[in-house]
Amino acid sequence: MKLCRAFLPALLLVAGLLLAGCQHDEPLPLRLTNISGHMPDLDFKLTDDLGKPVTGADYRGKVALLYFGYTHCPDVCPLTLAQLHVVMQRLGPLADGARILFVSVDPARDTPAIMHAYVNAFDPRAVGLTGEARAIEALSKRYRSAFSREPGSADGNYEVSHSSAIYVFDRDGRARVLATPSASQDDLVHDLHLLLDTGTHR
């Protein structure tokens, strides 16, 4: 028991240091729209592009870039994913600590197999997520995002209007910044560097 007494102050000191390290009293100098504390943590129940049920917790430990879109979108979605691929390349090996989560707003057409082929055409660190319409709506609403299916053409084809923002979460699943399509790529790379570098460990 003597041993315990001797250890206690040291233990408290270590615990205190750890807490101080985790609390981030100094806010990170993020350049994009800072949403820390204004948006809920990453949470969802969907199916990944390998057909596996996943939740937000499965991506703890990674910096997550959440983007809503659909595979029958030939222009803006591929452009955004191509831009994110460039961002990942600029991060170099650090990018392995990040995941692009591409959530389908068109689950009727976007099966895990289609999502798999689609996301892998852009970046190996991209994950395609689809699932029940209700689960996707819940995720979209959680981030005050929206999507709506436009009236279709005679051949059954249709477009889906959707939020253009990219939500960035730290390794603990906390919402940190929001990137709009007009945001500078340098700023996104800068902020991802900060989130990937800092001691925001689990």
């Binding site: 029958h72 030939p74 222009d75 591929p78 852009f122 436009e150 939020s163 253009s164 709009t180």
Partner: protein
């Protein structure tokens, strides 16, 4: 509505201009490329059109032997939402240019009859509102390409399509 009116007006102007001045005769295409997506997903096609003529021209669409359907579209982002809408025509101003590029005007290519792979050259026939056409070679690029890629590997077909850049 506005663009319909404009295209009708342009068509009228072009007709009035006589048979010698078709839009296609004065328009040169460059930076023509297709972003290839997996499977038979619709793909976006992009091109820069330069009009050396004294009259405006207007692109109304395109056709292809490879794709069952081609639509002229415009993407827009407003109020944080991305949308895509059909457009009747894109004006190429006299002695000016029109740029079909990602996040703006594009041709949506649907239902390819054969798989299109990056590196392939696909001919699209561009159609103008005066009825004239311009056969243009498009280079197929990977899904994650940012542009036509001339900076890296000059696609051979590009040269024929862009002899006159006229310092722009």
């Amino acid at each position: 509505m506005k663009s319909t009116m404009l295209s009708l007006l342009l068509a009228g102007l072009l007709l009035a201009g006589g048979a010698h001045a078709t839009a296609a005769e004065h328009v040169h295409a460059s930076h023509a490329w297709i972003r290839v997506l997996p499977g038979d997903l619709p793909a976006g096609a992009y091109v820069t059109l330069q009009n050396d003529g004294d009259l405006p021209a207007a692109l109304s669409g395109a056709s292809s032997t490879i794709y069952a359907d081609v639509m002229l579209h415009q993407s827009s982002t407003a109020g944080g939402m991305s949308r895509m809408a059909m457009v009747d025509a894109v004006t190429v101003p006299a002695h000016g240019k029109a740029v079909l590029a990602p996040a703006g005007y594009h041709l949506m290519l649907m239902q390819p009859s054969v798989p299109v792979k990056p590196g392939d050259t696909i001919q699209l026939t561009l159609k103008f509102t005066d009825g004239s056409t311009l056969a243009t070679d498009f280079i197929a690029r990977p899904a994650n390409a940012m542009d036509a890629g001339e900076g890296h590997a000059m696609p051979p077909m590009e040269h024929a399509a862009m002899p006159h850049t006229n310092g722009h």
